[in-house]
Amino acid sequence: MTKMQIIAKAILTFIGLSAIANLCQYQCAAAPTVLYGGTFMFRTVLFLSVFLIVTIAIAYFFIFKNDWLVYKIAGSGEKLSPERETLWLAGSLRMVAVLYGLILLAASISTILNIILSPLYVCHLINEILTFKTFPKSLAFSPSQWSYMIYNFLKAILAVYLLYGWPHFIRFQLNIRKK
């Protein structure tokens, strides 16, 4: 691979990651309308299935198997030696991971704090249940709230994983190169 191809690969991966995160947000907003039933349900199921296909296609073509697109964008040139190629590829993919991880972290700090402080809430919740013998109404979240909570939770996990360096994906990409 040439340097330009590696840079293109990193940029495509970044675009793919951000597109998937945004698409998942739309899906989370739309998913609870399935519960309304009737024509809403049909429309939402259609919408969700289309979005799911688009998300999978983006993950496949922009993140996992983007070499064909990279060669089309960057063209050919002087190839790097295997050692330098490994370093450039690992370095640029890690940079993408750190950059997008920081962007996601900025939006996930409240979620991470809530996860860290959750034992306190659980103690309070158990106290409330034992005292009043009923399930507290404050926990009766609507379906849309649940879907957003799940989305935020997954986003926080992704942010932490990306800031950790996205090791599995980079190893996968390096193994593809070797083969």
Binding site: E83, I109, I170
Partner: protein
Amino acid sequence: MNKMHTLIKIILSAIGIFFAIRLLSPLSLGISYLYSKPSWETAGAWLFSLLFVAGAIGLLMYFLVYQHDKLTKKIVGSEQLPEPDSQVQWLPVALRLICIAGGIYFLNTVIWQTTFFISQLAFFKENTRSIYTFAPYSPRDILPWIIMLICGIYLLFGAPHFVRWQAKKTLQQCTTSKKQQDEDQSASSVEI
């Protein structure tokens, strides 16, 4: 000055201009508040937000556009470095740049929240009996804000520990991959 210095200067200027433009958008929120409730409090809050944002933009432009030579020297190191092609030097430099951009993004969000908070305070003073009978911000809301501010400042200083750790991990990964490759090659040659 080598290619890397020039590249870093361009990137720093781009980061500065991008975030300076991005910082202008909370002002539109202030204008909408001013339209919805024209009063001295909202006007004062909007003026305060304007000054706050103008100060932040001024600082950004000063450090990232006009005085970027000093910052570039701090990021890259001495002027006598070889070109980035010949060594691994670019890796921590690029990571540090990303951290600075991330730090500005964090602080940008804090400034957004601050201007929003100022506008809310103006409403809170006026309508204590109608809309905002509670304080617009509780300690639980302020905690993420403070953490974001601390993270932003740490990242803005180049996040030295984080960058060192990331660079070390990348090099480790490359070494492991090379070892594995060598082992595979020796195994295949033995088979042949």
